[in-house]
Assembly symmetry: C2
Homo-oligomer: 300 residues x 2
């Protein structure tokens, strides 16, 4: 079942304690769509500039991703992010952000996009996310991401969004900020009470937590000894999760839990190299094998 | 099967962001023994001063704990710790430490102690832990705790201890320090390679990780919305774990995994109030019910 993602497409400059990369393929919609494509057909909507290397688009289309919604803005430059990871590889600092074409981007959905039943709103201003939501007439399951910036400067708009989406995915620090509560369990329930049917809190190397009216659970991260670059882990998590749901065509509690596990496992591969390098070498069989190990790990 | 614990017995002064308690019952051997007593007979060895309130001993004996190894040092004062928790309730700072009678304490095991097949060496200098190990002739499973202080100032002695014990339980920051590796997965394997058959890394609110030659897994903390005072969580975890093993009388991989789960669940109750207050109100049935919830939470 086709899955639509609207989000950022970026060129990243990454510094880790032991290595660095310049101008590598990144962005929430890129990580999400590539991760989801292991499970389900994916259509991506995003904007790039004239500096965008066409090979990046080719990498996505080669994976079967529908890139017809990837718009090149004449005279524009692609969104750029430069970040540095601290020695713990979980915390990072943003060194530079250039919104470029992302700053003015107003996503337009064509009929094919509008017909998608599964929609992921990657991190963007709630105003933009609401405008996408207005256009996505066929969406039956809508999940959004957000970030501290929008919690701080567009809280009302975010509140309006939360009342209209099915699921929200956000980081632990963002959940604490949004709920104004340092206890993640209480924060998760509080955010869910703001509107969405379910909330997923991403805890980086510590996994993820799930909250609905009837259920609350936590899933640890799959413990990989090889953490090269955590960039895109959260978006890959969401991609694996939504991709699995779209492949099933349903989102009951059991499907959601299995989807979270697939999200955890997909993200655990992403961090094992820069950009999409590890996912490019990955097969669906690898994902299923690690899911099986993960399931075994949690059985006692 | 009786379980022996040697460790600190303390009077704690605790400050949390919203509350405080002075001179409450604490110490590694106290939390450990009380937690373990839900599963198995426990004998405790420790030292207190003349300021020690006899009701504290009575609380332990009432729970069936053999306190004959609890020695009152004439003219001495009980070990005291004063700490403050940061708003995240996971990190804390030590404001005051008075070793008092703990500073010179040389544990002596009587015949009943020596016959115990399950031994837990609570956090103490590796020299003291080694001396206990020399006396514990009947011990078939020996697990020790340690801390950053000993890693920094008694690394050789700690190295000697690691070669003689079956299991080591330590915090995430201590594992990173001991292995000199910021990646916990690699750090856990590295510490295990120093001698013990298995290593358990405690991650506070993020759960625990297990390492043996054949196995590595992670278990999340049980997510309780009520975190009042995390003091003693790690020792309660170890108590629940060792108590379950002692009750089974075995420590094969399956028993160890279930024991870790019991440790997680026991610790999740400890943090729900100050000192032993929550555990005092607890029944074995409560532990088993939460274990069942925890198992369900991890099943997908």
């Amino acid at each position: 079942m086709p899955l639509l993602v609207v989000g950022s497409v970026a060129l990243d400059c990454i510094e880790t304690p032991t290595d660095k990369r310049d101008d590598v393929l990144g962005g929430s919609a890129v990580f999400f769509s590539y991760a989801a494509s292991f499970f389900s057909p994916v259509r991506i909507i995003g904007a790039v500039g004239e500096d965008w290397p066409i090979q990046h688009t080719q990498l996505l289309t080669k994976k079967g991703i529908d890139t017809s919604g990837l718009q090149t803005i004449p005279g524009g430059q692609t969104f750029r992010w430069r970040g540095r990871y601290l020695p713990n590889m979980n915390d990072r600092e943003t060194l530079e952000v250039h919104l470029n074409v992302l700053g003015e981007f107003q996503p337009q959905l064509n009929r094919t996009h509008q017909a998608c039943r599964f929609l992921f709103l990657g991190n963007a201003s709630p105003t933009v996310q609401l405008s996408v939501l207005d256009q996505a007439k066929g969406a039956e399951l809508t999940v959004a991401d957000t970030m501290d910036l929008w919690i701080n400067i567009q809280r009302d708009e975010l509140g309006a969004l939360l009342k209209r989406i099915d699921g929200l995915v956000l980081n632990d620090s963002e959940a604490k900020l949004l709920a104004n509560d340092e206890n993640l369990v209480r924060a998760g329930h509080a955010v869910r009470a703001m509107g969405p049917k379910f909330v997923v809190i991403k805890k980086g190397e510590h996994g993820a937590m799930f909250f609905s009216v009837h259920e609350m659970y936590v899933m640890p991260a799959y413990p990989t000894p090889l953490v090269i670059d955590p960039t895109g882990a959260g978006d890959s998590f969401a991609g694996g999760m939504m991709g699995h749901l779209a492949s099933l065509g349903r989102f009951d509690p059991q499907a959601l839990k299995e989807a979270l596990a697939y999200g955890v496992v997909t993200a655990s591969f992403t961090v094992e190299d820069f950009s999409l390098d590890r996912l490019e070498k990955l097969s669906r069989h690898d994902l299923d094998r690690r899911l099986q190990e993960y399931r075994q790990m949690l059985t006692f």
